[in-house]
Structures are given as structure tokens and as C-alpha cells.
């Protein structure tokens, strides 16, 4: 009995002591002591390109040894899936883009379409776009392989593209997003609960997505479309291996089966620990381009932005987003600032307004509220420079974006008062509601807007809620406003301008903006293949939006990340689906340090 009590006291004392001493005994994982596991890189070794791949032209001179080629990044949330036809969010797409090849990719610097699995991009000049303007022939690179060593053929792309129209798979992701393939509209009308649904989808698309032979695909558009080929950069059009999909059934792409997933991209999944991290390693069989230098990429799922930044500072991450509140301190510290990279994204931020309900159904009021919004103050005081003040819905880099067209919406209190007086001559302006999610930056934005709009006599009622409630309130015409924006999937302007179409109402058109003239212009700009004529239509379209705006535009998104100095070779991409760096991480390496 005495002995037991002694043990108890000893335990109590030692536990307390241990907790104090424990902290002093060692550090978190530092990047320098990270080593790849023995088989992490597979047997490829080095960066010798396989047959048919593009040579890297030799490894960089400052590259660290293979056992240090481990990159740890943060995805900001756990992917729900890595099934290419079911991925939707940035934290899913970023990883997925390393795992599965598309027919085409986009140059992260020029935004031009590049061939990936395809041998070249079809053009009229190379004869791969037929005279009818709707039939495309896509030749695949020779010797494409799956990660299990089997051949990747045109039929695999047919299977993947058509599978993207199975709303039981893609309904929560990009399902219904690509409507320009001939037969797509019919496929999307089918009943997903029908017993013959899969077969019916195939039948709807059987003449427009065709494997001519193992290395040649025929794709048919509904009508001539500038954006048609850009759709085949999206993961929903990736090839997937049919036998693998059928073997895993409903579990295809989820964490429990991910490590056995047959992939076609430069990486494959080594392990996926739910809610913690997933690890990707090079796919030895990859022949679609240069092989990666990295031997392992650990993708962590840290949702709290401040904690991710703390983990970066503690040496647990090689990359991190920057919490808004931390940015002024980083800018003031030259060492930290040197690790930060800031680049304009193909994305803008705006406040969607429900144009079917008062006061937003009055276009003069919407113009007035745009003019009452001091974007510089928002960029500086709310985002501390993590966003750039911007008045147009498109960023400069988007083809034929004409920011000058939106100059009438620039901040000007006198004009704002006049516009609002025009909308409500008797001065009885209804109180507007601004529903926001419960995070400090968004709430700061809401209170700033409230103060700014007060200056033109508009009272704002701020309601704090969660994202799902806000979406439901928008759907039910209760909220009236939603702070949102658009990150572009590809560089063609159709990706942006189509979301204000009537056909996008209930989907990405959250403000129920529906204008016949706009629909007509938007449709024409995609179909007009002559660049000069298209530019003219796009100018008309932007003039239309400036005169009858669907949103209160306020900023351009700036991607601002921290990278450890030894992470080299990153080429930032402006697109919506990339969290960090180079499109495929193949150029990224850890330098000697």
C-alpha cells in the first residue's frame, strides 16, 4: 500500500517535471533533418527523363541530395476526394494536378494553352481543327503510361471525359460546368437515379467524344467556341483508368484507397492519413514531361491560417499562406519579407448583389454603391496590401479585359450620392443587409463597407452567419448580398463572363443576374473566332456590365505565400486550382542549405 502511494506521488511529480522538461529537450522537425524514406522516390533516381519525356537539361547545380528532396506544404484543408471527376476545391485540385494528366495544360507565365498528354494543341493551321470549326482531332504523345505500367490510350480519355458527365460522381464538383461539348446539354438533362443512366450519358456523348485509335481522339463542340479546348485543362476531363475506377467502386479517390490509385501525372499517392496529411511521390512511369526533382511532397491539412503560419515559422512547413494580420509585420521584417512571394491571381473579389430584390434591383443604386466603395481603403486598411484595389470584374491579364470600361464605377462620393438619389429620389433608401461569415478579416471588411456606405446615406445591417446559411439565404432571396468573387479556371475570358449568364443562375450566378442582351453578347464572344471581332464584342459586353453591374467589385486577389529560401524552381500560377507554385511541381527542388 505504501509502495503504491509512493508510486502515485512519484508519478505526479515526474509527470509535472516531464511536462516542463519535455519542451526543453528537442525541437520540431526542421527542414534540414527531414529525410525521405528509402523508397520514397521509387527507383527512378535522379531526373533522367523516360522515353518520350522532355529532358530537364540536367539537374540544377545547387540541388541538395535526393534524401533532402522533401517538400512540405499546406493544402489548408483535407481533400474530400482525389477522384479527378469529383474534385472541386483548390485544396483538392492542387494535389490532383500532380496526379492526373489532362490533354492540355496552361503555361503558368503566359497563360497560353500547352500540350500535356496531347502531342500538340489543335489549330486550324496544323489541320487538327476541321473546316466546320467544331471537330477537333487530338493526337496523344506516344508511349503514355499509367503508374502501374500499362498503356494510357485515347479510350482512357474518352472514359474520363464522359465520366465527368455522371452527376453521381461530379455533381458536387464541376458537374455541368462544361456545356460546350456536343450532346452535353442532353447528358445533363438525364435522371441520375435512372437504372440506365450511365449508358444514357454515354449514348448522349458517343459521337462527340470518340477514340479514333489508341493515340487519337475526336472531340466535337456544340458550336464554334474559343474556350472549347481550355475545358480540357480541367481535372474533370482527365483520363482515369476504367479498371481501377470499377475495382474501387464508390471508394475511388477517397483516403482509404488513395495509395493504390493508378495515376498518370508526375506523382502518385504514397499515403493519405485522414485529417492529417497526404504524401505524394514521383510516378516512375510518367512520360508526359519532365520528371520531378522532389522525392516526396507532404501535403498537410492545417485549416487555421495562423497555425499554418506558426508551423512554417516552427520549421514544420516549407510553404505557408500568410494570415492577413501577420502581413504588416512580415513586410516590416526584411528577412521575412525575402521569403514572401506575392503575385496577382486570375481572380477578383466582389460583393454579389441579388438583382431581383430591392434595393439591388435598381441598377442606379448598384452603380451608386460601387461608387461609394473606397477600394483603396479596403485594400490598405482591411487587407493590409494582401489585395489590390480594383474596379473591373476581370484582371488585366484576362484576354481583352478593359478596366477603363468600368471607370464609371470608381470611388467618387459625389457621383455615388447622385446615382443613389437617382435611384431613390425621395430619399427613402431601404436598409441593406450584408451577411458575412465569422472570420476577422471578412467582418472587418463588412464594418468598413458599413461605414463607407453610411457616408452616402445607406444604412447597412451586418449579419454574421456561416457559409452554408449564407448560401441558402442567397438562394432564397433573403440575404441580398454575398462577399465572394471568381478565381479563373483558365485564361480564356469565357470562364469569367459566362458566370453572369442566365444559364448560370442557381449555380455560379449567385445574384440571379439575367439579361437577354448580356446573354447574347456573352454567347457571341465565345463563338467569334476572329480575334478583332471578338475584342469588339468583349468591349460591348464590358460596357453593358458597367452600365448595369451585377456586383460591387472591390479587389484583385494577390497570392501571397511564404517559402523557405531553399525551395527553388517555383513558378507561380495565377489559376484558381493551384495553391502553390509551379503547375506540376516538376521544376521545384530543395537547394543545398
Amino acid at each position: 500500500m505504501n509502495a503504491r502511494k509512493k508510486l502515485f506521488l512519484l508519478l505526479a511529480g515526474s509527470m509535472t517535471a516531464m511536462l516542463v522538461v519535455a519542451a526543453a529537450c528537442g525541437g520540431g522537425t526542421s527542414s534540414s533533418d527531414k529525410t525521405a524514406t528509402a523508397s520514397a522516390g521509387g527507383s527512378s533516381g535522379g531526373n533522367t527523363p523516360a522515353s518520350g519525356s522532355t529532358s530537364a537539361g540536367g539537374a540544377p547545380s545547387d540541388i541538395a541530395p535526393d534524401n533532402q528532396q522533401v517538400l512540405t506544404v499546406n493544402a489548408q484543408a483535407e481533400p474530400n476526394t482525389e477522384d479527378p471527376q469529383a474534385v472541386s476545391y483548390t485544396y483538392e485540385l492542387t494535389v490532383n494536378h500532380q496526379l492526373f494528366m489532362n490533354l492540355f495544360d496552361q503555361d503558368p507565365k503566359t497563360s497560353q494553352l500547352t500540350a500535356w498528354a496531347a502531342a500538340e494543341v489543335p489549330t486550324k493551321a496544323n489541320g487538327d481543327i476541321a473546316a466546320d470549326g467544331v471537330t477537333y482531332t487530338v493526337k496523344l504523345k506516344p508511349d503514355l503510361k499509367w503508374s502501374d505500367g500499362s498503356s494510357l490510350t485515347a479510350q482512357d480519355f474518352v472514359y474520363g471525359i464522359i465520366r465527368g458527365y455522371d452527376l453521381n460522381v461530379s455533381g458536387k464538383a464541376y458537374g455541368g460546368f462544361i456545356t460546350s461539348i456536343k450532346g452535353a446539354a442532353d447528358a445533363l438533362k438525364l435522371d441520375p437515379t435512372s437504372a440506365t443512366y450511365k449508358q444514357d450519358v454515354q449514348n448522349a456523348l458517343k459521337d462527340s467524344v470518340v477514340a479514333v485509335d489508341d493515340h487519337t481522339l475526336k472531340l466535337v463542340a456544340e458550336s464554334p467556341s474559343n474556350a472549347f479546348l481550355s475545358n480540357f485543362t480541367l481535372p474533370i476531363t482527365s483520363a482515369v483508368k476504367q479498371s481501377d475506377v470499377e475495382k474501387q467502386g464508390a471508394n475511388y479517390g477517397v483516403s482509404s484507397t488513395a495509395s493504390t490509385m493508378v495515376t498518370s501525372g508526375p506523382f502518385k499517392i504514397k499515403e493519405w492519413v485522414p485529417k492529417d496529411h497526404l504524401t505524394i511521390v514521383p510516378n516512375d512511369q510518367y512520360t508526359g514531361g519532365q520528371k520531378p526533382y522532389l522525392k516526396e511532397v507532404n501535403v498537410k491539412f492545417i485549416e487555421d491560417a495562423n497555425q499554418a503560419y506558426n508551423a512554417y515559422q516552427a520549421g514544420q512547413l516549407d510553404e505557408s499562406n500568410i494570415p492577413t494580420a501577420a502581413w504588416p509585420g512580415i513586410k516590416a521584417d526584411s528577412n521575412k519579407k525575402a521569403e514572401a512571394k506575392q503575385e496577382e491571381e486570375f481572380g477578383t473579389r466582389w460583393i454579389t448583389v441579388d438583382v431581383t430584390i430591392a434595393p439591388w434591383n435598381n441598377k442606379d443604386f448598384v452603380i451608386g454603391m460601387n461608387q461609394a466603395t473606397d477600394r483603396e481603403a479596403i485594400a490598405n486598411d482591411v487587407y493590409f496590401g494582401l489585395r489590390e484595389a480594383w474596379t473591373a470584374p476581370c484582371v488585366k491579364a484576362v484576354l481583352d479585359c478593359n478596366p477603363d470600361a468600368f471607370s464609371n464605377l470608381a470611388f467618387n462620393l459625389d457621383k455615388a450620392k447622385a446615382s443613389i438619389a437617382k435611384a431613390y429620389p425621395n430619399g427613402n433608401i431601404p436598409t441593406v443587409t450584408l451577411e458575412t461569415v465569422d472570420d476577422p478579416t471578412t467582418k472587418a471588411l463588412a464594418t468598413t463597407l458599413q461605414a463607407q456606405w453610411q457616408k452616402v446615406g445607406v444604412k447597412t445591417n451586418i449579419v454574421t452567419t456561416d457559409q452554408a446559411t449564407l448560401r441558402a439565404d442567397m438562394k432564397n432571396h433573403k440575404a441580398g448580398t454575398q462577399i465572394t468573387g471568381w478565381g479563373m479556371d483558365y485564361a480564356d475570358p469565357t470562364d469569367l463572363w459566362a458566370i453572369f449568364n442566365t444559364s448560370s443562375v442557381g449555380g455560379n450566378n449567385l445574384g440571379f443576374y439575367s439579361r437577354d442582351q448580356y446573354d447574347k453578347l456573352e454567347s457571341q464572344q465565345d463563338a467569334e473566332l476572329d480575334p478583332a471581332k471578338r475584342k469588339d464584342i468583349l468591349n460591348q459586353l464590358q460596357d453593358f456590365l458597367a452600365a448595369d453591374p451585377p456586383v460591387i467589385q472591390f479587389a484583385v486577389q494577390l497570392r501571397t505565400d511564404m517559402y523557405k529560401p531553399y525551395v527553388k524552381g517555383l513558378v507561380s500560377s495565377p489559376f484558381d486550382y493551384i495553391n502553390y507554385g509551379d503547375q506540376q511541381l516538376v521544376n521545384v527542388y530543395i537547394a543545398k542549405h
Binding site: 520540431g28 474530400n80 476526394t81 441520375p192 482509404s256 485529417k275 452554408a468 442557381g506
Partner: protein
């Protein structure tokens, strides 16, 4: 005793059924659903197709019927956020860190709390007492996430001694557990310390303690054999509910420290309106609390022979 135990066990069934009914009703009263526009890039038709597939467009009572039918077969249903995965599978993957965090925190809170409580009582009105009371007051008044932030900044960011995020892979990888356990355990440790101190002081004034001193027993023997033993009765009965609370109340800490546990899944499920996951986690937590309360009631009889159940 056996009859009492069996009756209490049987009562669990209607309690859990009520939990399913109330949770299901409240869940569907809240605005929004798992397939709202704006949460992805799919079309309105695609979303409607999913709503129909999961019967979310049918009356709530009918949906409840489907749910209970599956539940009675041990199936918590499909996960609506991670399509293709099941709630059973996700819970199977997530329980370990939550249970480990709960057990470690209970141990930490109990050991530190009891140790400080005894120390404060034995050295009443000394510096040690003031320090212990100070710790208890600080622990009780500092929210666990605030303490977590301070600990992370000090031990992870500034000193690089401990990781800022993550969870242990096994017993040899104990460092990631230190900060979450201290953050989560300080409030209950403070509570236990205060109760232990009060209980110790009460027992120290009992006649049998004076008798023991009069008999000439050594102070250490008196403290350990006569005071601590009797003072522990109210403390032990507290540890049951505290451990249930720690097992089920670690949402914030799991989210903050990116611990891959059920608490984090619960928060994500609520934000994403993942109905089957909300139901499953609520039921799981309700079961833990009900069972923990039953164990505590039974423990009363074990630690205090005067209590008998019939």
C-alpha cells in the same frame, strides 16, 4: 446492484433515441444544406440531382425513417461531403487521436490537479499555496485556445522546442501531444486542484486526523494514509465527468492544433451540413457521456461504502 446496472443500461436506449430525434429535427431546421450553390462550380441541375439522390427533397420525417432504418443496421450512412466515403469509415479513422487526447488530458489534469491541490493544502498560506491557487485561477480563467496560442508562440515559434501542429504517430512521438494536452487540460487541472485543496482542508480538520497526530504518527503517514485517502472521494467522482467532457469537448483544440480527430470532423460536418456525420458524432458523444455518468454513479458505491444501489 446488478438490477440497478441493467436498468441503467436499458435507459440508454430511449435516451439515445431522443438524441437522434432532437438532433435530426434541429439539424434540418438550420438554414442551408450540403449541396448549396457557391460551394463548388457545378450547375444548379447537378446539385438538384444530388439532393434527390440523397432524398433531401423529401419530408423530414421520411428522411428520419431512412436514417433510423440504416442506423438500426449499424450503418451511419454516406458522408455527404466526402462522397464515396462512409461515416463509419471516417469515424473509424478518426477516433484514435480523440481518445488519446482525452486520456492524456485526463491524466495530465488529474495528476497536476491533485498534486497541486495536496501541495496547497499541506502548505496552507505559504508561497506554494498561493502559487497553486494562482495556477488554478489562471487555468480557470484562460480559454484553452488562448493558452494554446501563447504556448505555440513560445514553445514552437520562438524556441522551436515543440511542433505547432499535428498529432503523435505513437508513444515514441510524444512531442506533438504536449501543447494540446496542456492547453486542453489546464482548466480541468485547475478545477481539480481547487476541489482537492478544499477537500483536503476539510479532512485535515476531522477528529480522526487529530487522533492520529495525538497517537504520534509521522506527519507524512497522516497526510498520505488518513487525509489524502479520504479527501480523494469527491475528487475521484469528479474525474468521471471531466474525462467524458475532455473526450467530447476537444473541438477547438483539435481544430487549432490540426489534430485528426472526431472533434475536427464534427466541426467540419456542422459547417458543411454533413447530416449523417453530424448525427453520428452527436450520437457517439451522447453515448460516451451517458456511459461515463453510469460509471461515475457506480464508482460512488465503490469509493464510499455507505452508498448502496438497489
Amino acid at each position: 446492484m446488478t438490477g440497478y446496472f441493467l436498468r441503467r443500461l436499458l435507459w440508454i436506449i430511449p435516451i439515445l433515441w431522443l438524441v437522434t430525434l432532437i438532433t435530426f429535427g434541429l439539424m434540418h431546421l438550420v438554414q442551408g444544406g450540403p449541396f448549396e450553390a457557391g460551394s463548388g462550380k457545378s450547375s444548379a441541375a447537378a446539385r438538384q440531382a444530388l439532393i434527390s439522390k440523397y432524398h433531401l427533397d423529401e419530408p423530414v420525417w421520411k428522411q428520419y425513417g431512412y436514417y433510423m432504418g440504416d442506423l438500426l443496421q449499424g450503418d451511419f450512412g454516406p458522408d455527404l461531403v466526402r462522397q464515396g466515403d462512409t461515416v463509419n469509415n471516417i469515424l473509424g479513422q478518426s477516433w484514435r487521436p480523440t481518445v488519446e487526447l482525452g486520456i492524456l488530458t485526463t491524466l495530465y489534469a488529474s495528476i497536476v490537479g491533485i498534486f497541486l491541490g495536496i501541495l496547497a493544502a499541506v502548505r496552507r498560506n505559504s508561497v506554494l499555496d498561493y502559487l497553486s491557487v494562482g495556477f488554478a485561477t489562471l487555468g480557470a480563467s484562460t480559454p484553452n485556445f488562448v493558452l494554446g496560442i501563447m504556448l505555440v508562440i513560445l514553445f514552437a515559434v520562438k524556441l522551436h522546442w515543440l511542433p505547432a501542429v499535428g498529432w503523435s504517430d505513437g508513444i515514441t512521438d510524444w512531442k506533438p501531444a504536449v501543447l494540446p494536452v496542456i492547453s486542453l487540460g489546464s482548466l480541468p487541472a485547475a478545477y481539480i486542484a481547487r476541489i482537492t485543496r478544499a477537500s483536503m482542508l476539510e479532512v485535515m480538520n476531522q477528529d480522526y486526523v487529530r487522533t492520529a497526530r495525538a497517537k504520534g504518527l509521522r506527519e507524512r503517514v497522516i497526510t498520505l494514509r488518513h487525509i489524502v485517502r479520504n479527501a480523494m472521494i469527491p475528487v475521484l467522482t469528479l474525474i468521471g465527468p471531466i474525462s467524458a467532457g475532455l473526450l467530447t469537448g476537444s473541438f477547438v483544440i483539435e481544430y487549432f492544433f490540426a489534430i485528426p480527430g472526431i472533434g475536427r470532423a464534427y466541426v467540419q460536418a456542422i459547417l458543411g451540413r454533413d447530416y449523417p456525420m453530424i448525427m453520428a458524432t452527436t450520437l457517439l458523444y451522447a453515448t460516451i457521456i451517458v456511459i461515463a455518468n453510469l460509471i461515475v454513479d457506480l464508482l460512488y458505491a465503490v469509493v464510499d461504502p455507505r452508498i448502496r444501489y438497489s
